[in-house]
Amino acid sequence: MARVLINFAHPALEKSRMHAQLLTAIKGMPGITFNDLYEQYPEMDININREQQLLEKHDIILMQHPFYWYSAPAIVKQWLDLVLEHGWAYGHTGKALKGKYFTNIISAGGAESGYHKEGKHQYSVHQFLIPFTQTAVLCNMHYAAPYVIYGVHRMDIADIREEAKRYRQTLEMLRDDKIDLSVLPQLTYMNEALQLPSQTQ
């Protein structure tokens, strides 16, 4: 069983439609560690020790957050800045995260078609996520394909519940080693993992 850690960040979950449902869907899932950053550190004073210990105990690290302004909410940046210390996460002696898998679980208001050269946003989500990709590389981790839920603005509650169900299934497969992890970096989205029966064991 792969050990999965979800670092979750949403500053106003009470207003969220998508993430509230995602959380409901995965609530109490055995084998998954759920770490709610804004709940844990409402004053942004991140306990570096605790966070590093959590990271060391897991194989797959998922940063789950809304895709605010083409990036993550503020606390995720704070978390990256403080937790991924030189000498621990990167640098000559920084091997604590070596070989682990890292990626983002994000929701975007706009449709996928907007994230293209000719689209409204001009760049792909992958391009916007380069800071995360490269952070993973620098920390000797594999950046897995991100899990992206597009078009949240247009979804009604039934669509959202459907998305949440798929999300739970993906997590279950990750946890139960039903996805070959080494394939994850080659996919475009982790969402595809569900549709790849050849990859399931």
Binding site: P11, A12, K15, S16, P42, P73, A111, S113, K120, H153
Partner: protein, 629 residues
């Protein structure tokens, strides 16, 4: 009649001081010179209002010197002494040895007997603590390298008087006839070893009383909360020491100095200091007047050349010794000059030692009289010399001086950047936090029991009322950066704030307020940093309550901050409304209504709309209205 003359004399002294000191100050001469001039003018040589026999005035006025030494002694915490050990022993010791040797040698060459020469050397090697410290303080030079060096040397000199008093009887070759003039002391009828024993006993008594008697006594007095008792106690201590010392025939100034040293670590130190300070100032002034008055102009007129020649010669010799020492101890040229200028005079202890030497027949009477005049003249010249330094010498070095500033200022800076008034449940938290961050605080508190309790915990707290100007000065308000006012009673808080705004405008004030009314008052006083106690704690409680009811932590936290911000704003606007004192009740009512209105509008507008940027409904509406991209 006697009483009348005492009153009359007091009137003459006080009037002279009040007329001449401001005049002298206005002319840029400094207070010390003002007192001296006043003394000369009302003295027997000119108007003759006071002192047909100058000695008597001196005797009384010496009490100012006694108090000053008591206060100097109190400055001497062991840590400070230890830190200054090189300059006290090295610089001070060499100064006394060097000057004494040079002067003794000259005296011997001029035909004085060997023993008398030695005594002269020792007497004249001393400088005037009273005048030099007063002048250095007045000009703000205490913290300079020269100021610190001077302080060390003066300290050593004050201590050196003790062995000198012991040596002089041994130097006296003639058999001492029972002295008829000076007061009968306990020592007189005793053999040599008995005398030593009495002296040691007196010193031991002071130390023991200072250590084991004074603190409990002060505690009792502090509990009565009658402030003037403190002053009485402080005065009583100094007087008692002086009397005891006179009784055994020692210098009362020395005893007081010793008493001060013993009390240097007492938690009542600042309180004692501030109680005695005004008396010290006045009595020192009296002392300076007496010095001025005791200058015997007829004697000077008889042999003006000899006397002025001797004054200048002596001061030159001392200055040369000082300059050499300053060089050795690596003072920069300007500081070295100040050091030499300041200490070239001859001190008040010379009066004591001169009368003592004539008692033991070490020096003859004519020489003693002449030397008394010389000492007085040299003391009177000191402020003039310092003025010369300030106006002529220093300007030439201004640039170098500013370069040196940084290095010299932290040499012996025992004043702390933060003063905390009140170390109760509020101030102690702030104080502990600041101390934990490695910043030193001078802590004052008025609750003697609390001071004791904290003392037992190893926290240094001074007993004292921070609403007093002198105490704040003693606590270092002139050099501090912050004044944290966390006193329990608002009356006191207000007094401290008013005092600080008036006399220490450089101090940043951080003030605790208990009631909303206090806050308004503090706003009126122009305080910018006001801390309403319990506001933060109550909001923290509110945050936890929201969380326990299921709200998200970050939301609760933000809600509390929003509420706090709103509340502060409300207070500010209400403070303006409050000006109409007649409609106080009305405005109170208004305030309550206003608060409620704001709180409810908070709930509707601010709290729910917080984080408009996060998942705004409007963007969904907009997107739904468009065709899919």
């Amino acid at each position: 009649m006697n009483q009348h003359s005492l009153l009359f004399q007091s009137m003459v002294y006080l009037a002279a001081a009040i007329v001449f000191v401001p005049l002298a100050k206005k002319m840029g001469l400094g207070a010390v010179l003002g007192y001296l001039i006043a003394g000369v003018i009302i003295g027997p040589s000119l108007l003759g209002f006071i002192g047909k026999e100058g000695e008597d005035i001196m005797h009384f006025a010496e009490f100012g010197v006694v108090m000053m030494l008591f206060l100097i002694g109190m400055e001497l915490e062991p840590t400070l002494l230890w830190r200054l050990r090189t300059s006290i022993l090295g610089l001070g010791g060499l100064q006394v040895l060097g000057s004494a040797a040079a002067i003794a040698g000259l005296a011997y060459l001029l035909g004085q007997p060997f023993n008398a020469s030695l005594a002269l050397g020792m007497i004249l090697s001393l400088s005037s603590t009273a005048i030099v410290l007063q002048t250095l303080n007045e000009k703000g030079w205490m913290s300079t390298a020269a100021g610190q060096s001077s302080f060390s040397v003066l300290l050593f000199q004050d201590i050196a008087v003790i062995p000198m008093l012991a040596i002089f009887p041994l130097l006296a070759t003639q058999v001492v006839a029972a002295p008829e003039l000076h007061e009968h002391t306990l020592r007189d009828d005793l053999p040599a070893w008995g005398q030593t024993l009495v002296v040691l006993g007196a010193v031991a008594a002071i130390i023991i009383a200072g250590r084991y008697l004074v603190n409990p006594l002060m505690r009792i007095i502090a509990r009565t909360r009658v402030r003037e008792l403190f002053t009485a106690m402080a005065l009583l201590m100094v007087v008692a020491i002086a009397v005891l010392m006179n009784l055994v025939g020692l210098s009362s100034a020395l005893g007081a100095f010793l008493g001060g040293v013993v009390l240097a670590n007492s938690e009542y130190r600042h309180e004692l200091e501030s109680d005695i300070e005004p008396f010290k100032g006045l009595l020192l002034g009296l002392f300076f007047i007496a010095v001025g008055a005791s200058i015997d102009f007829s004697l000077i007129l008889q042999e003006p050349l000899l006397i002025f020649g001797l004054v200048i010669g002596l001061m030159l010799v001392k200055a040369i010794v000082l300059l050499i020492l300053g060089r050795i101890f690596k003072l920069s040229t300007d500081q070295n000059l100040l050091f030499a200028f300041a200490l070239a005079d001859i001190g008040e202890f010379a009066f004591v030692l001169l009368s003592f030497s004539s008692q033991v027949r070490l020096l003859d009477e004519k020489l003693t009289a002449m030397l008394t005049a010389i000492v007085a003249i040299s003391m009177a010249l000191t402020p003039l010399i310092m003025l010369l330094y300030e106006k002529v010498v220093q300007p030439k070095f201004t640039r170098q001086a500013s370069d040196k500033e940084e290095r010299s200022s932290d040499e012996i800076n025992e004043k702390n950047p933060v003063i905390i008034a009140g170390f109760g449940r509020f101030g102690s938290m702030t104080g502990r936090f600041i101390r934990a961050n490695g910043i030193k605080c001078t802590i004052l508190d008025l609750d003697s029991d609390r001071v004791d309790a904290l003392h037992n915990l190893g926290i240094k707290v001074y007993y004292g009322d921070a609403s007093r100007y002198d105490l704040l000065v003693a606590a270092g308000a002139n050099d501090a950066k912050l004044l944290i006012v966390a006193t329990d009673s608002f009356d006191q808080t207000r007094q401290i704030v008013e005092l600080a705004r008036k006399y220490f405008p450089h101090l940043q004030l951080l003030v605790r307020a208990q009631q909303v009314e206090d806050t308004f008052d503090l706003m009126d006083l122009g305080v910018l940093h006001i801390y309403r106690e319990t506001v933060d704690t109550s909001l923290r409680m509110g945050v936890d309550a929201l969380r326990m009811l299921g709200a998200r932590a970050y939301h609760s936290e933000r809600a509390a901050r929003t509420f706090f911000r709103q509340d502060e704003q409300t207070l500010k606007s209400l403070s303006a409304l409050r000006d109409d004192k007649k409609q106080y009740v009305n405005s109170m009512k208004e305030r309550i209504e206003e608060m409620e209105k704001l709180i409810s509008s908070d709930r509707i507008k601010t709290w729910l709309d917080e984080g408009q940027g996060w998942d705004a409904e409007s963007i969904r509406d907009e997107v739904r209205g468009e065709p899919e991209a």
